[in-house]
């Protein structure tokens, strides 16, 4: 019996085309959905809420960590300096709402006192950035 000789391997790269298509789609997805930005000073564990209004991530959010650290975007500062820092921020962003990202375990009293300090510094509107409950 004479066996049929195997077909010669194709030298073309046709087998890679679906792979390239998928990788291109993934790349376009991440380009459109993700926002490339300067990393923040730290990432507090976000508060979860039922809030419905979605928001863009603000690169200059006021960050509060459970261990008492404060930062405005990438710049960390001491808690005593909050009013000066926010006064400078308000001068640069007179019509912008200040978004606060506090850690879930931050004492609520610290959060409210910080919002109060922002109002004393002349910030008109303060919003809390939260993540949606799973």
């Amino acid at each position: 019996m004479r066996l049929k000789s195997p077909a010669p391997a194709s030298e073309s790269n046709h087998g890679m085309l679906p792979l390239i298509n998928i990788v291109f789609l993934l790349m376009i997805f991440f380009m459109l959905v993700g926002a490339v930005s300067v990393p923040d000073a730290f990432e507090p564990e976000p508060i979860r809420s039922e809030a419905l209004r979605s928001a863009e991530r603000d690169p200059h959010s006021l960050l509060i960590s459970a261990d008492g650290r404060f930062a405005l975007g990438p710049d960390e500062f001491r808690g005593q300096e909050i009013e000066q820092v926010l006064s400078r921020w308000r001068i640069k962003n007179p019509d912008q709402a200040l978004s606060v990202r506090a850690g879930a375990r931050v004492r609520a009293e610290v959060l409210l006192n910080t919002i109060e300090a922002a109002k004393r510094a002349g910030v008109q509107e303060v919003v809390l950035l939260t993540r949606r409950r799973p």
């Binding site: 991440f30 419905l52 004492r107």
Partner: protein
């Protein structure tokens, strides 16, 4: 003179190099981008408890939020669900004030805020006076 026919054009794209570049771009965007779904919670910040004329224990329309998630008002301490029932039985259209106790976590306060706003109650956050 007889010219030889032109060789057929074979388009050969160097796919391996292309895939390398695309993979590097893909990793860059995967690692450098953030795609978290953020939600905005507007904070209605009231006066401090003393400025607002609140005394301890707070009156019925003001709840002290305890660290374990229970609430305390003029009628005593109760679970969050009971507090909502209490408010609904009172048949009041007035808003409420939530005061976090000194050791209450932000998440606990926001849980209480969510529960009341879900039934359409206007909630003001109020602070105990700073010692």
């Amino acid at each position: 003179m007889k010219l030889a026919p032109a060789a057929p054009m074979t388009a050969r794209v160097p796919l391996t190099a292309l895939v390398d570049v695309v993979f590097i771009l893909l990793f860059f965007f995967m690692l450098a981008s953030r795609s978290l779904d953020w939600r905005v919670l507007e904070i209605d910040l009231g006066e401090t408890a003393i400025d607002a004329g609140l005394q301890a224990p707070p009156p019925n329309n003001a709840f002290l939020v305890l660290p374990n998630g229970e609430l305390h008002n003029g009628d005593g301490q109760m679970a969050l669900a009971d507090a909502i029932g209490f408010y609904q039985r009172a048949d009041s259209n007035a808003g409420i004030a939530l005061l976090p106790a000194p050791e209450t976590a932000s998440q606990t306060l926001i849980d209480a805020l969510d529960a009341f706003t879900a039934i359409g109650v206007q909630v003001t956050l109020t602070r105990l006076p700073t010692q």
